[in-house]
């Protein structure tokens, strides 16, 4: 009998121990886009694996398919992702459709304060409804659309002299959008070291979000607004304001007169390729790529420099970046929250920045050495001060696809006028908001 008791106690102990270890060591899957910062996060997360005993798996999807793939996953209640670094525009849908776990109680319990993060990133990546203290994500990756250029070309005496002769101005980092176009047009079709080069690589992609992200980099500095009064969905006169029309005409002129031939469906990858292959003098892209560009052996280092999206009537940059959320369909939410807690740690955030990720933590951004820590760090701070984001409504995908179509029809396919494109866009958006019951 004694032996039976001992055996029972032993068996219970073994089961209990195995259950405990099962609770402690989970296989977590983090989903994100496939790009440079994702690779940095894999390295960074090794520290979490060591500390927690959990194993991290990663599901990275190329950008053009990222939204499609991940939104399908969320909408079908899939359990592929325990943690998701989702685009800022998904926050409305994530919150209203119950895809993301609300994090307020967790933040309160763990002493994580949103005041420790840059306000623009908290507003854009974490809150829904916008600006309210309802948090569905922790700011994970600050980002904005910026510019980089061939510093070595800009510093060459022969090119500087030619620019002065052609325009009467000194060649340097552009201070306005129009000056940037002037520089791009100067380089367009120019022979440099026996090779024909072009002005700039901009975003014109049709399928996902490319041309919208590119054109808003012109629209915001001109003063484009989505609504006359925030939250009113009153778009007439805001979306199609004279300033917006002028900005869109500007973007079309930029596309037609200062980009490489065949640049009709180009986004991040094409912009990087055009620059790295020495085709263009300037290029727009997300700050997330800047560490990799600076490290490039052929066109990085001394040959490259960076600047924030130039102002026109005002300063304005297109917001990128993402927050990290816990997926509500995951059955490993406790371990996922552990990851968020670990990631919010200032020391981890400092390492995140040093490894190529863009921390949104104030302890990093407001550090004395931050501005000098990379040639693009100061520009990043400037950009984040004036970022604007696309609609973050639950119906964001419909709103985005409508804008993609109207912009591509006008800018690339040369159909209609800028005024017509923006008028039609208001019609499309009005229909969406009517369907949503918001108008």
């Amino acid at each position: 009998m004694k032996n039976v008791k001992l055996a029972t106690v032993g068996a219970v102990s073994v089961v209990a121990a195995s259950m405990a270890s099962a609770v402690q060591a989970e296989d977590l899957t983090l989903c994100w886009a496939a790009w440079d910062p994702a690779n940095a996060l894999v390295e960074l997360s090794k520290d979490f694996e060591e500390q927690s005993g959990h194993t991290m798996n990663f599901e990275f999807v190329p950008w053009p398919n990222f939204a499609d793939r991940m939104l399908n996953e969320l909408n079908s209640g899939g359990q592929l992702c325990d943690l998701l670094i989702g685009d800022s525009q998904w926050i409305g849908g994530g919150a209203e459709n119950g895809h993301y776990v609300k994090l307020n109680d967790f933040f309160d319990a763990e002493g994580i304060s949103m005041d420790d993060f840059a306000p623009a990133t908290v507003y854009a990546y974490s809150t829904w409804p916008k600006g309210t203290p309802n948090y569905y994500a922790l700011p994970a990756m600050g980002d904005a659309n910026g510019w980089f250029y061939r510093k070595d070309w800009f510093e060459r005496d022969d090119i500087k002299a030619a620019y002065k002769e052609a325009t009467g101005d000194e060649l340097g980092e552009p201070q306005t959008q129009k000056e940037m176009l002037q520089i791009a047009q100067f380089f367009q079709g120019r022979e440099i070291d026996g090779q024909t080069v072009y002005g700039a690589a901009i975003f014109t992609e049709r399928g996902s979000e490319g041309i919208t992200m590119g054109a808003t980099s012109a629209l915001y500095p001109w003063g484009f607004k989505y609504e006359n009064t925030p939250g009113s969905y009153d778009m007439e006169g805001a979306v199609n304001s004279p300033e917006a029309v002028e900005a869109l005409e500007f973007y079309k002129e930029f596309y037609e007169t200062a980009t490489p031939p065949g640049y009709t469906n180009s986004y991040m990858g094409e912009s990087l390729d055009a620059f790295k292959s020495g085709q263009v003098a300037m290029a727009m892209n997300w700050f997330a790529f800047f560490p990799g560009l600076y490290a490039d052996p052929d066109t990085g280092g001394d040959k490259i420099d960076f600047f924030v999206n130039p102002p026109q009537n005002q300063a304005g940059s297109t917001l990128g970046g993402q927050g990290i959320s816990v997926v509500s369909y995951s059955d490993k939410q406790d371990a996922s929250l552990e990851y968020i807690k670990w990631f919010a740690n200032p020391e981890v955030q400092a390492r995140w920045w040093s490894m190529g990720g863009y921390s949104a933590h104030n302890s990093v951004l407001q550090g004395e050495t931050f501005k000098d820590s990379a040639p693009f760090a100061g520009d990043f701070l400037m950009a984040m001060d004036d970022v604007q984001d696309f609609w973050q409504e639950p119906a964001y995908a419909e709103l985005l696809l409508a804008m993609q179509k109207r912009l591509h029809d006008y800018v690339v396919a040369d159909t209609g006028t800028a005024q017509e494109a923006l008028d039609l866009l208001i019609e499309d958006w009005t229909e969406v908001f009517e369907d949503e019951g918001k108008l």
Partner: protein, 315 residues
């Protein structure tokens, strides 16, 4: 089989089994065999079709599970049929369909006619010609994107060589005028071999004695071609057109890879439009109605065509 054998087999059958089978009529046994197939057909084809028809009368959005679903009658159908973008995508589909079929039939038949001649290396050429259709559409789309690249693309250089134009002066995939033709060229390149193979089967099915009889009657080669070859190959050719027509009506992968529906929306086929409505905008009710309209269109056209095909066969 003699009666004795039947009797022996009947006696050898265990009584239990015999009694069970005896209880089933031929009709019941037939149902037993076709039942699983009918069940699968209902589950995989018919039920989704009925469900799609049902959804097409609602405002349902698959990404908004918490939203109340309302029946809105024919509103989705009205909106689709009065949407100019839908009609533009239909036009793009019709342009693609007509010209791909035209070129594939023309070139496919010509190639089959040439390959049908006995010559040295005949088999090798057949294999080479059918290679494109063995490739994945994603691969074909990708490498034609490079071929069409204005600065480094081989296609532009070949055109420039013959016309004297600057290779980078035209952009096959980026020009509103050229892009619809660019996708026609690629599809023709990829699928002409398929039409060729079917035509070749047709040509090889014509007995030699018919031509020999025509020779005896002193019919010219041209006369033989129009009165023997074409009529006898026509059912095969029509079958090829049917297959390619249905395939190209739902063309998606190749065009997405090449142009993504652009520039603007000039190459946005109905299928691309449908996919965007259904799985990017998540307008499930609206896209269900669109799918039903496309289904009825294809089904109607195909039925008319099959009737015509049967008439040609009967002649």
């Amino acid at each position: 089989m003699s009666d004795g054998t039947v009797d022996r087999l009947a006696r050898a059958t265990p009584t239990r089994v015999a009694r069970k089978v005896k209880g089933l009529s031929d009709r019941a046994i037939a149902w037993l065999f076709v039942g699983p197939t009918i069940f699968l057909l209902l589950a995989i084809n018919i039920f989704p079709l009925i469900w799609t028809i049902n959804l097409s009368f609602t405002n349902f959005k698959a990404n908004r599970p918490n939203r109340a679903v309302e029946y809105i009658g024919l509103r989705n159908y009205e909106r689709i049929l009065s949407d100019s973008d839908i009609w533009l995508s239909m036009q793009a589909t019709a342009h693609f369909l007509f010209w791909t079929l035209f070129f594939q039939v023309l070139i496919g038949f010509a190639l089959a006619w040439l390959i049908n001649k006995k010559f040295r290396g005949n088999d090798m050429w057949t294999t080479i010609i059918v290679l494109p259709m063995m490739l994945s559409p994603a691969v074909v789309g990708n490498f034609w994107t490079f071929l069409y690249q204005p600065q480094i693309g081989l296609f532009n250089y070949i055109v420039a060589f013959f016309t004297g134009a600057d290779p980078s002066s035209f952009d096959m995939l980026g020009s509103v005028d050229l892009a619809p033709w660019a996708i026609v060229i690629v599809d023709t390149w990829m699928w002409t071999p398929f039409v060729m193979l079917i035509c070749l089967a047709g040509l090889r099915s014509i007995p030699d004695y018919i031509y020999e009889a025509a020779e005896v009657d002193r019919a010219s080669k041209l006369r033989q071609f129009f009165t023997i070859t074409i009529p006898m190959v026509l059912p095969f050719l029509m079958l090829a057109v049917l297959f390619r027509g249905i395939e190209n009506f739902k063309m998606f992968d190749l065009v997405v890879q090449l142009t993504g529906g652009g520039p603007g929306s000039v190459t946005e086929m109905s299928s691309i439009n449908l996919k965007r409505e259904a799985f990017e905008k998540w307008r499930t009710g609206y896209s269900s109605a669109f799918a039903i309209i496309l289904f009825v269109t294809v089904f109607g056209l195909a039925s008319i065509y099959v009737k015509a095909l049967n008439k040609v066969k009967e002649r």
